[in-house]
């Protein structure tokens, strides 16, 4: 599997945001937001500046990012999605869970 990255995709318009569905990427629909006023929440290198637009988070490959950029989207890469996660490294069984709950 290709390496994936958590990224913010910035669409210049509502139509461009809607067109993202056609790419069949792993974009997190509930994160779609109007960009206005959110520029400050983006990383300092945020390519969006203070322009209007729309943002959506996703987990995408470099190849996907290339396609998006070629098609006029801006993409901010956050972190790699290939590291072990708390779902794998911070697990406990029920006996421990109950013991800790009752302490």
């Amino acid at each position: 599997m290709s390496r994936r990255y958590f990224a913010v995709v910035i669409a210049p318009s509502k139509q461009a945001l809607a067109k993202l569905q056609a790419y069949d990427l792993d974009l997190f629909h509930s994160t779609a937001q109007v960009l206005t006023g959110l520029a400050a929440a983006l990383p300092p290198s945020g390519a969006a500046g203070s322009d209007d637009g729309y943002r959506i988070d996703g987990l995408i490959t470099l190849e996907d990012i290339g396609r998006l950029v070629d098609d006029g989207y801006k993409v901010l890469i956050n972190t790699s999605g290939d590291q072990p996660t708390p779902a794998q490294t911070e697990t406990i069984d029920f006996e421990q869970w109950l013991r800790e709950l009752e302490e």
Partner: protein, 352 residues
């Protein structure tokens, strides 16, 4: 006090069995009829004193999407704390908020509460496996004859399923909607609960992430002026799913819309009290249309068949990431549990 990590799939199953074994007069364990592709059994705990079908029923589900790891733990914790408070006659505490024991008694004695914390156990097992994919979203349907595995369960419910709006027909997509509506055992298990317990009038499906409280509809913007423009009318096929246009808007009665907003605001206000996280209450579509989702299906049932109960149904999107470190996850768990208490109280007080 607080657990220190996420439960395994076996741990969640053990927790539900333990609830039934420890509090047999308060908790019934419902074994759901459909086994998953990997042979796992879905379990729901039914909480109440003398559960009866003439009490209002509330169904809370979680773990539909495998990688959204916080929410099954949340629902197990919620069930435990609620039942323990009733059993010991003590107040119920979630984070900074304390609910008087009278509230606990009211919930347990006046409601039939169904908690189905892990709809997609195969997916969670894959997410937690060292050899799995921590960001897997779908179930583990092998999709024989197709190139990729898994169906997005929250595109597989029978609400405008064939439209494909906000869903994919490509098995390799993370929003692959499956071969047919209710093609998947996990979604059929949810439907079974709604069919078998027709007194269920409220549903919450807990997802992650974005700090949202979403109500119907998800396929198009709402309107309350033209009851003849609705999802059941095929004359509008092909016109739905464009955000913000006026060609088509989905009908929702005004009083339903007000109730959705009122209950949603109560949940939001309960959550924000904990540590200031301000969830947003909004219509499911917002900027992205969806179909085949659990809450739109649940709410749509009474429009399709007038003999069905009207189900006031929400999706809550918890937190700001799929898999936070558990100390942050526990903060999310307690604040949303406070929201769930408010949801239940308001649901009891609000007629559908």
């Amino acid at each position: 006090m607080a657990p220190s990590g996420y439960l395994t799939v076996v741990g969640i199953e053990s927790a539900l069995v333990s609830l039934r074994d420890t509090y047999p007069s308060l908790c019934e364990l419902i074994v759901l009829p459909e086994r998953t592709y990997e042979g796992r059994v879905g379990r729901t705990v039914r909480i109440g004193v003398e559960p009866r079908n003439d009490k209002p029923g509330i169904l809370i589900i979680g773990g539909v999407h495998a990688r959204e790891i916080v929410n099954p733990d949340m629902l197990v914790y919620f069930a435990y704390q609620l039942v323990r408070a009733y059993n010991t006659g003590t107040d119920l505490m979630f984070g900074q908020t304390t609910y008087a024991n009278s509230t606990v008694v009211s919930i347990i004695e006046n409601l039939d509460l169904f908690i189905f914390p892990l709809v997609n156990p195969d997916g969670r097992a894959y997410v937690q496996s060292p050899n799995g994919d921590p960001w897997w979203r779908k179930n583990r349907n092998p999709n024989l004859g197709l190139p990729c595995q898994g169906v997005d369960l929250n595109r597989n419910f029978d609400f405008l399923w064939s439209s494909g709006i906000g869903a994919s027909a490509n098995s390799c997509s993370d929003t692959y909607k499956g071969a047919a509506a209710f093609s998947e055992p996990e979604t059929r298990n949810v439907r079974h609960l709604l069919d078998a317990y027709p007194h269920i009038t409220h549903l919450v499906d807990i997802h992650s992430y974005s700090e949202l409280i979403l109500h119907p509809w998800g396929d198009d913007n709402n309107q309350s002026t033209n009851p003849n423009m609705h999802f059941r009318d095929p004359v509008y096929d092909g016109l739905r799913g464009t955000v913000g246009d006026s060609t088509y808007r989905e009908f929702i009665p005004e009083d339903d819309l007000e109730r959705f907003a009122k209950i949603g605001r109560g949940v939001r206000d309960a959550i924000v009290k904990e540590r200031g996280r301000a969830y947003t209450v909004e219509q499911g579509i917002d900027l992205y249309p969806t179909t085949g989702t659990s809450n739109d299906y649940a709410y749509s049932r009474h429009f399709v068949d007038g003999s069905q109960s009207k189900i006031t149904a929400y999706v809550v999107e918890t937190g700001q990431e799929f898999q936070p470190p558990f100390n942050e996850a526990f903060q999310i768990i307690t604040e949303v549990c406070a929201g769930l208490v408010d949801f239940i109280r308001n649901s009891l007080a609000t007629k559908t």
